[in-house]
């Protein structure tokens, strides 16, 4: 009885979300029309509404980023490209447009190089989405189960050996996928990075108005948040310098 009720609730939820999707998709199409007609402001507004409804897609962020780019709102454009990249880190179009947008920033802060193993690991984790990693993990664990059963059932020692090692291999693969998927999942759901939303922001050496200014940053620069409190957060800019910014001066990716 209880199970039936839950099933019903779930299907209802799906129905509702499908309805929501339909109306949101309609809005997306309208926004696309606006974009094509070079009414970038309207397009951006409508995309933003879809996002506010709690839906997302890398294409949506990409389109919105483009709209802001055309409006010359580089900070917002970069923010949306970064968000799109979070969903699809290897998308070349997004990367290209992001790099073009970054050229528009007046201030250049060079990325400081990461050690090769970190970049290699990141690139490995980014090859698939967390969902795909999870799917692979599930497939692997079931394959491992099947192989274990085959191992038990096989009459010959030779095939037994083969199934035995294959079962362990798939189990190990499953663990690897779970691990990679976890990393990916973490990056998808938590972001330590933020984009500066305003121009000419002064970073200070402490979390208060009275603190001394250490450097200033222009709109669109990506920073890493290392510490936060109610109003302030401590950030590291790509070249390694640290400073405190007010929370409302930046938007988390």
């Amino acid at each position: 009885m209880k199970l039936h009720f839950r099933c019903f609730l779930l299907s209802l939820l799906f129905c509702l979300s499908a309805i929501a999707q339909d109306s949101q998709l309609e809005q997306v199409y309208q926004a696309n029309e606006h974009y094509i007609n070079k009414e970038y402001e309207e397009a951006a507004q409508q995309y933003e509404q879809v996002l506010q409804a709690g839906l997302e897609a890398k294409e949506l962020y990409f389109n919105l980023g483009n709209a802001y780019f055309q409006l010359n709102e580089i900070g917002k454009s970069i923010l949306n490209y970064e968000r799109a990249l979070r969903l699809a880190p290897k998308d070349q179009d997004i990367q290209l447009n992001l790099s073009l947008a970054k050229r528009q920033i007046n201030q250049r802060v060079d990325d400081y190089p990461l050690p090769f193993y970190i970049t290699a690991f990141r690139s490995l984790v980014n090859t698939l989405s967390s969902g795909a990693w999870a799917l692979f993990a599930v497939l692997c664990i079931w394959a491992a189960l099947a192989l274990a059963i085959l191992y038990l059932r096989s009459p010959e020692v030779k095939t037994q050996k083969r199934f035995f090692s294959l079962a362990w291999l798939t189990l190990a693969l499953c663990l690897l996928f779970v691990f990679l998927g976890y990393n990916k999942y973490y990056w998808e759901s938590n972001s330590d990075y933020a984009i500066l939303a305003k121009s000419n922001i002064k970073a200070t050496n402490g979390p208060s108005e009275a603190s001394k200014e250490v450097f200033s940053l222009s709109e669109g620069i990506k920073v890493r948040i290392v510490e936060r409190n109610a109003q302030w957060c401590k950030v590291i800019i790509p070249d390694g310098r640290e400073g405190w910014l007010q929370q409302n001066q930046l938007v988390v990716i």
Binding site: L25, L55, E56, L145, G181
Partner: protein, 625 residues
């Protein structure tokens, strides 16, 4: 011919260095160079090549004025002192600072050959004892010169007036005492390959007032004067005679044609100072000393040399070969890799290497039309590295980017022939890219401009796609965890079942035992069929077989091993009660008999069947296995 006079002057000084008679004192020069510093007491030169009979000079100098007090010369053995000591003191006032220097010179001669060391001299300066360095002297056998004795010279000095030798130039055949030798480093070369020709004057006398009468034309060559700026003071021994040598001219020649080319001779006129045999002549030097020597104006001409010039091999000659011979490297550089619109950058292409670079043609580079290019500034520099002529030639292009974008700059290429490795080589510059940003007077970034950067801005909207709920992930969701963990529950269940099956499968005895009743039943069923057909013989056979088969299955024994004799013991062992055993034995006996012989009540097949059934049922109860 000012240059030639300078040349002659320096030559004269050099050649006199070993000669006793001139006694040109350069002390003030030495002293001057030693001034202003902390006190130094040195002997110079540090090492001398001398020949027997030819005196040489050594000098002790101190950068203080009072050398005479407390100066103690060393023992000059085995040399004889033929002149000196001469003392010289100079005081200089520069910007109000006074510096003084003084020196003592000796003229020494040796009759013995070998290598000797003159120990350092001792000076007392302001109460401090100082010791100079020692001097190494190498003496070889020289030409005997009769009038080098001190007494003789002093006699001559008193004779006073200098007598000029014959001033008329007399052309002399290359004599044993002086000649010019033309040396070339190679006699067979490729077109464009460097040949070094060196004219060296050999002389046993002092030579002064040199002037070149005939300068070779070096026709057929591209030539560059590579004479050393300060000819090294050399002595060379030929047939046991020590000559002073002097490089008159060193030329780097690059043959332009092919075939046999002649390097022409060099002719000079010079005054040689010949020692007088009879002490008849003399000359007053600026220092007031008189010498006994004869001056003679002579012409000296070198020989000429022929070299063979080969044409460059046609094999492997690149299409763009423009006649460069030597070893070269081509480099390109940008003064900055990034610039913005209207901000010029300089693109420099440089050839450097060994060989003749002056004739190299300019590059024909085609730049992107969006870069404004000015005519290149060409700089050629050539210098000598030893005997080799090296050069740098650079072309500096100023690029003025008109529009933002990424431009790849044209590559320059040269090919050259390397005569050492006898092969053609190519050298080209590497790929260079120039990134041009929008200028600072920034109008909004236009898509047009962006298009040019790395393939262009992707401005298309993506029409069709699915929307996802934010923050919904399969990873970490309930279904994921369920799907992932389910196998871990399934597997133990399966394992337990499998183990059970396996033990059962492996337990053949148990299976047989459990199946024994069924098997017996089946046999009895068959027997029943035979009973219905009234086939007595077969019926009794089957009953016996079913009874024995039941027992053997039950206790796991081969069928043939049972007999009437041992079955009773076996059953007793397995806990079957006596009456049942008896009944079993009876039944078997009766049936076996019934097969072969007529037995009473033989037709009662039904009774036997029922008995057997009850017997098996009894045994099933009582058998303990």
């Amino acid at each position: 011919m000012n240059a030639q006079q300078v040349l002659g002057e320096s030559l004269r000084m050099h050649l006199q260095c070993g000669q006793f008679r001139m006694m040109m004192v350069l002390l003030f020069l030495m002293a001057g160079s030693l001034s202003l510093s902390a006190q130094k007491f040195t002997a110079s030169p540090k090492s001398i090549d001398a020949s027997t009979g030819n005196p040489f000079k050594i000098t002790y100098s101190l950068n203080a004025s009072d050398l005479q007090n407390g100066f103690k010369p060393p023992e000059f053995k085995p040399f004889r002192i033929v002149g000196g000591p001469e003392t010289q003191t100079s005081v200089q006032i520069i910007n109000g600072a006074t510096s003084a220097s003084s020196s003592v010179s000796y003229y020494l001669s040796s009759d013995k050959t070998g290598t000797f060391t003159i120990p350092g001299a001792i000076a007392n300066v302001k109460g401090k004892r100082m010791r100079s360095n020692s001097i190494k002297v190498k003496v070889v056998k020289g030409k005997a010169q009769p009038n080098t004795s001190r007494s003789n010279r002093q006699n001559n000095n008193r004779q006073g007036q200098q007598q000029q030798g014959s001033n008329a130039a007399t052309s002399l055949a290359p004599s044993d005492n002086y000649f010019i030798e033309l040396k070339i480093n190679e006699d067979t070369v490729y077109t464009g390959q460097q040949v070094t020709a060196t004219y060296v004057l050999y002389s046993t006398y002092s030579v002064e007032n040199l002037s070149v009468l005939e300068m070779p034309h070096f026709s057929g060559f591209w030539s560059e004067d590579n004479s050393p700026s300060r000819p090294p003071a050399n002595r060379e021994q030929r047939n046991g005679v020590v000559f002073n040598t002097h490089i008159l001219k060193r030329m780097a020649l690059f043959p332009q044609g092919t075939g046999e080319l002649e390097i022409e001779p060099l002719e000079i006129e010079a005054t040689i100072l010949k020692p007088m045999q009879n002490g008849g002549g003399g000359r007053r030097s600026i220092f007031g000393r008189f010498f006994n020597q004869q001056r003679q104006r002579v012409r000296i001409k070198s020989d000429s040399k022929k070299i063979k010039v080969r044409d460059l091999p046609t094999e492997g000659k690149p299409a763009n070969f423009s006649g460069l011979v030597g070893q070269y490297r081509l480099t390109a550089s940008l003064d900055s890799l990034k610039t913005s619109e209207g901000d010029p950058v300089s693109y420099k292409i440089a050839i450097s290497g060994t060989g003749n670079l002056k004739g190299t043609a300019e590059f024909d580079l085609s730049f992107d039309p969006k870069l404004e290019v000015f005519d290149p500034k060409v700089e050629v520099e050539s210098y000598a590295q030893g005997e080799q002529i090296r050069g740098n030639k650079s072309f500096e292009y100023i690029l003025l980017p008109k529009e933002a974008g990424v431009y790849s700059l044209p590559k320059a290429e040269i090919s050259y022939f390397d005569p050492k490795r006898q092969r053609y080589f190519n050298s080209s510059t590497r790929d260079m890219r120039l990134v041009v940003r929008k200028g600072d007077g920034s109008q909004p970034f236009t898509v047009d401009a962006a298009d040019e950067i790395a393939g262009g801005f992707k401005e298309n909207v993506i029409g069709k796609f699915r929307l996802y709920e934010k923050g919904r992930h399969f990873y970490g969701s309930m279904p994921f965890i369920a799907l992932l963990s389910l196998p871990f529950f399934i597997f133990p269940f399966y394992l337990v079942r499998h183990r059970k099956n396996e033990t059962e499968r492996l337990d053949v005895v148990g299976r047989k035992r459990r199946a024994a009743l069924n098997v017996a039943q089946k046999r009895l069923d068959e027997a029943k069929g035979l009973m219905d057909k009234n086939d007595r013989k077969a019926f009794y056979n089957d009953v016996v077989r079913s009874l024995y088969g039941y027992i053997t299955d039950k206790v796991n024994m081969p069928l043939g091993s049972l007999s009437k004799d041992n079955v009773a013991d076996l059953l007793r062992e397995k806990g079957v009660q006596e009456p049942t055993i008896n009944k079993f034995v009876e039944t078997v006996k009766y049936c076996e008999m019934a097969v072969y012989a007529p037995v009473p009540d033989a037709d009662n097949l039904k009774g036997t069947y029922d008995d057997t059934l009850s017997l098996i049922a009894d045994m099933e109860d009582q058998l303990q296995v």
